[in-house]
Symmetry: C2
Subunit: 285 residues, 2 copies
């Protein structure tokens, strides 16, 4: 009986540290505890991890790529490689696809999400990543721009400091890794509640997910994410919306959104994004 | 029948421009349309209005008082006076109370809400204002600090740019004009969603109301407010809260708040804050 309990406890620990997809709100700790990056490293296999870094959202891919290279090397990954892709047509080249096929984890850095999607969207590279993630052969993490691209609708840019309105957010196609979610990042840090609300008004079938810096929505592969890191993940669920003036309102007229459901989730909280419900608290606090 | 309809229409118009209390999010237009200030002026009696300005939240009461003095004079008020109160004991003096008793409207300016409450809280001045508002003898408007003081709990200060947490907001006693509401102002403009959420976590019996700049929650005296102005009023209703880690979480640990109800209200939207429900849209858009 003790043995069974021990095995179940071990199993539960294994499950809770395996994250097929990690959506990181930017500015994750890279110096001290490195909790989120360590969780990705462990998830990708720990000392057996073969990690590929995709820095092409950044205009300084060499600098950014090298920074993460050093981090995962220092953690003791078996192999770390930077997929320093500069042109879109490179994404169909065998040299990169071979590296990718050998990876157990891929980390997508910050930068500009439009640049990222222009470079990799619809290519063999991204198709392979999606396939391997779906098959459980690859763990994927993206931070900042690398988080923004996760949905099939993407916040490409926008402003802050205004009331929610249609001009506050630029929306385009994302990479569709997690189609249900409409992700924003650096969330409370950069005053992005109004722009995420505006994005949700335009996409009321999606779930708005605003992730703070050094914070992560870590998907467990069963339609549930768990919150890791030091901030909050804010979920805006328009499923019970009773009224909006979108898109009838003039572009700059502020939006009305009546009866949104909103959750503020912190470390250990788990959210079922398929069924749109917070799970009973099961996490470590 | 036509006569009855006309009378009802007129009556409904009269009701919709009479606001016993106006809670303004700061930075209201003072130059162009002056929609909100005009609504207050009309509400206080228009050309028959006798307006008292309370500038004592500000450290420049002369400058601020004079600014509003000029505005209401120009609008054509019958009388405008600045209650330039510098010391708390002045609030019990007959000279101010006599002016106040003659007023049809009182406008409380911005500044520092703690300074305001320290000066006027619990004095004859504020008791008289509350009595006269309750009796329908006086219209009250407050902007910025003058809005913050409306509840019986008040956001005295705080920070922004962080995840909701207990250290993000300083709470103290307000003046209790509208006990149900916990008001924040300059809301989306100054990234105050996280601090209002933190304030609501500490006061789950209150309704969080975040008012943008040049925007107003105009109370109609029956437990309903209507939105005026160019921005939004955000209502955070914790009535269906299923879980919070407040106050168990360490002070700086982010907060969890599961199942908040949130409304984004824009011009013309009406909200019943006694029964916590958005009313069918009846406003001018």
């Amino acid at each position: 009986m003790l043995e069974l309990e021990t095995r179940l406890a071990q199993q539960s620990m294994v499950i809770s540290t395996q994250y097929p997809v990690m959506v990181v709100g930017g500015a994750e700790d890279k110096v001290n505890g490195c909790d989120i990056l360590t969780a990705f490293f462990e998830s990708a296999g720990g000392s057996a991890a073969k990690i590929g870094i995709i820095p092409c959202a950044s205009r300084e891919p060499t600098v950014v790529g090298d920074r993460y290279y050093q981090i995962f090397q220092k953690m003791g990954a078996q192999q770390v490689q930077v997929l320093d892709i500069r042109y879109r047509n490179e994404c169909d080249e065998a040299r990169w696809l071979e590296i990718l096929n050998d990876c157990t984890g891929v980390f997508v850095t910050g930068g500009d999400q439009l640049r990222l999607c222009d470079l990799v969207g619809g290519t063999e590279l991204i198709k392979t990543i999606k396939q391997k993630v779906a098959l459980g052969q690859l763990k994927l993490a993206g931070t900042s721009a690398g988080a923004a691209m996760m949905g099939d609708r993407m916040i490409a840019g926008g402003s802050s400091g205004e009331s929610p309105n249609q001009t506050l957010v630029e929306l385009t196609e994302g990479l569709g890794i997690i189609p249900e979610l409409l992700v924003d990042q650096h969330f409370h840090n950069r005053n992005r509640m109004a722009r995420l609300m505006s994005a949700v008004a335009a996409n009321p079938d999606k779930l708005g997910v605003g992730i703070d810096e050094d914070t992560c929505a870590a998907l467990d592969g069963s339609g549930v994410f768990q919150v890791l890191g030091k901030g909050t993940v804010t979920v805006i669920d328009p499923g019970s919306l009773t009224h909006t003036n979108y898109p009838q309102a003039d572009a700059a007229h502020p939006l009305s959104l009546h009866n949104l459901k909103v959750h503020v989730l912190s470390k250990g909280d788990r959210y079922d994004y398929k069924n749109r419900a917070v799970l009973a608290n099961s996490g470590v606090r």
